[in-house]
Subunit: 298 residues, 4 copies
Amino acid sequence: MNKLSEHTVFGVVGGDLRQAALANFLLRQGYEVHAFFLDQQPLLDRQYISSDPAGLGCCDVVVFPLPVSDENGALNAPLYSGSIPLSDCLNCCRSDAFLLGGKISDRDRLTAQEAGHRMSDYLTREEMAVLNAVPTAEGAVGIALSERASTLWESHCLITGFGRCGKALALLLKGFGAHVTVAARSAGELAFARTLGLNTISLSKVDSILPEQEIIFNTIPSPVLGEKSLQLVAEDCLLIDLASRPGGIDFAAAGQLGRKTIWALSLPGKVSPITAGNIICDTVINMITERGDLIENN
Amino acid sequence: MNKLSEHTVFGVVGGDLRQAALANFLLRQGYEVHAFFLDQQPLLDRQYISSDPAGLGCCDVVVFPLPVSDENGALNAPLYSGSIPLSDCLNCCRSDAFLLGGKISDRDRLTAQEAGHRMSDYLTREEMAVLNAVPTAEGAVGIALSERASTLWESHCLITGFGRCGKALALLLKGFGAHVTVAARSAGELAFARTLGLNTISLSKVDSILPEQEIIFNTIPSPVLGEKSLQLVAEDCLLIDLASRPGGIDFAAAGQLGRKTIWALSLPGKVSPITAGNIICDTVINMITERGDLIENN
Amino acid sequence: MNKLSEHTVFGVVGGDLRQAALANFLLRQGYEVHAFFLDQQPLLDRQYISSDPAGLGCCDVVVFPLPVSDENGALNAPLYSGSIPLSDCLNCCRSDAFLLGGKISDRDRLTAQEAGHRMSDYLTREEMAVLNAVPTAEGAVGIALSERASTLWESHCLITGFGRCGKALALLLKGFGAHVTVAARSAGELAFARTLGLNTISLSKVDSILPEQEIIFNTIPSPVLGEKSLQLVAEDCLLIDLASRPGGIDFAAAGQLGRKTIWALSLPGKVSPITAGNIICDTVINMITERGDLIENN
Amino acid sequence: MNKLSEHTVFGVVGGDLRQAALANFLLRQGYEVHAFFLDQQPLLDRQYISSDPAGLGCCDVVVFPLPVSDENGALNAPLYSGSIPLSDCLNCCRSDAFLLGGKISDRDRLTAQEAGHRMSDYLTREEMAVLNAVPTAEGAVGIALSERASTLWESHCLITGFGRCGKALALLLKGFGAHVTVAARSAGELAFARTLGLNTISLSKVDSILPEQEIIFNTIPSPVLGEKSLQLVAEDCLLIDLASRPGGIDFAAAGQLGRKTIWALSLPGKVSPITAGNIICDTVINMITERGDLIENN
């Protein structure tokens, strides 16, 4: 396969609603799409779905799910009634096909290699991470709205960390009229938060403002709020940890102190699977385009 | 009672969590507060609560709930295990006390009159309506977030009506990065929406843009979206009616067409009772202040 | 003339760049347009301009300038080398033509009546006032940017009055990251400002926050900041009065105290004449449409 | 000098209004400050200013201006009536003083070294660059407001480049209600712009949208808009180049085509010198604090 064109044929393999949404977006953009192992989903018409991997042989681009496989090396396919080894799918792909997957494990890479393929990971792409911050922030706001008896408007919110999720969340909360404070380490990030009209504090001094916070959102995937800090948090404060393992809040301590704490992981796929599928679609198309450009330049 | 001072004594009678929150805010501002018929609530310390209306005799200001009474003339007191006639409360109030209530019915007024009192309605105040638009808008957004599998970001939202709720909702959705269109009748309101960077359309032409909408929020309490219009709405569009009876969406027709429709009434008390109590508190204090000013001027 | 249609012929008479811009917008929308007494302007092609009022006889709609005439009863026509009585223009208009003008004086009305015409004032329209608040706010911001040596970002700005201009200006300044406080009389307006995330204060208490303000924008056309208040204002504070006569700032006192004060009147026509013309165009089209509707309903 | 404390003594040497503002901020924060070669400025009280470099001997921290020296090796001191070699100042500084300057040249470094000093550059700090983007964006908006006859509201604005200045400018223009499009190279940056609700286009395709733009702001310091592109730009489009040398717009071609082009360099110091001085102050204090931390940790 050289370059993305109107004749590019896509295979979409396994996964959850995101993959179905991805297939749907590709169809709407006019591409020929074959979906595999996606039987129990409500978005795609029956005619596009198959459970026979042999059909992968006609696909120029094959998109594997996020994650690609389960712990047993089977294709990650929660919407398929059966189970199929990842290797069975890979063996059906053409040798010149462009294979993509999300959160590709070492074992996945090895399996692909054994089948004579290389697989590119869309989860490592910057635009994917940036765009996924939006459903993550919306999911966090949704939790805050449903768990509290007060408005976000005029509430005191603290966000620890100011990476992609912190930025998206801060701007969203500001749109609600919340009093938002950003705690971060880097002077540059704090300065950027300040230019956005947010209150800022060095992460090393965050304890001093914990007592007046009503909601604390953590986005840093390393210990930030330990027992000593949690003791300063108000009784009715809601704590939401958005950081991937190990998270940044000491959940055991929070539990003992009776602080309401929610660990919200992988929000895009849970709260906005259709948008999450759209984001994968955009990222995959960028990857194909850049690859095409590279080939063209050769 | 002449004017609001640090010595003003408040009585807070019946009602739901909003009344408890109101009592709480008054306490925090340093006033002496007596709460009545609010036994089963988690916000107030036991010492402030009584079930003996005789205590109303020491109160300069008495705040009745929203609504004041139930259909049988009993005080609206869902957090009280028993039942007490409104008249019993009124008879205990001092003749110079300032009595306030929400959504006062004709019967309530008559009952008050028979007890030698007049009662002022805080629900008719402009600032109460303006501030209540915020929890209403947050509640509507909360519904949209929990009912859909896509982000509000980049979604196409239509708001019919541009009164207080329409304005609050439009600005909130814009903060999410939604594509917001406002449909209204008045050229002045449409112009104001346009100055806020919103798309606008005359309500009479709204049918032309229904097919591409993903969420429709109605805020007009009279028929707006009838069967003919609803047929133009996309199958997976979410319809949320925020308008009080009779609402603006033909629910029967929407049901027959299989359009998902949610009638969300009285959101402030349901989704943000603490903020709603805060808003009543601010409104009541404004009313006392203005009354005091009047008296002072005499 | 019954109703706006593609065949409607427009006459645009006299005025400044706004009228030329208005003629231009009408042309771009596909209408036949004749412009009169607008010789010295850079926007319109020569072929559309005439100095012979007889051409008004073919116009279905005739738009007079803002204001319509000068103190001598001559057409307000600063871009015309000569002078022409308003009556000469009116006498050339068809009896069934729709005549509009801005800020129509009693004398203008009389002159029109003598020529057998009625004239409708677009300046009294709500959408015109709402839309004009935008160039007014931009003009005020432009002044603040050019007169000061500090950013608007993180500056302390006070806006007295929260009508259309106050609202537009407050939102604009908030977009800059300024600390904006709104001072107004009405509890409802203050509540609306609060829902927008602005700081608020009752106008009666504004003196208490004057010392920390860096820019004060007045939008109230009656005495607001007298000598006593101005003494509280910081030495390097910039005062901008946007209110029409008599304004709200005591300019004499401000001058004696050495406070820098700018009275910025009629900003739309001065700083954004093209947009101002566009706004008149939209308003005029609304007025024709509503009139057509009325006629149709008869 | 070990660490920032209330007893830290600052020397502020030469420069323009920014240095005077910097000295002023330090004074307001309670530090002892000595200013040198800043005679003709309106912000500082006479008592703090000296023209004798010997006074530098008592300073723990010495802040040199931006840039540090002129082409002849003299201190950059436009507010001083005379001229003084940089080396004369350096020779008076204590050997344990912390010396800072902006845009330190190789020659400045050598001069410092010869005097036994090292000098740290505050212009290379991330927070300085981030914060300076604000006055730059405000300056650009100020130019657009004063050069055009239309509002920014509803105007079509293109920003090429989405670094710090592009971001600040895009958000500011969006606050005005402009239709903002960002053109950039990186898929990640474009995705971030999209999450902010901005229109986006790959820089390689920017020509396709040039005709409808009313203002083009370039922030990329390398050729972006050459003759071929400029021919696509509308006649009345305003072009503002914010990029440092060589800029991104072909000025010669723009001139020949009659396109109005403004090259706006070093805006912070020109339009908001007081804020620019504040930013240097914050940056310098961060640098001292970090240095102190380092020393403390040893």
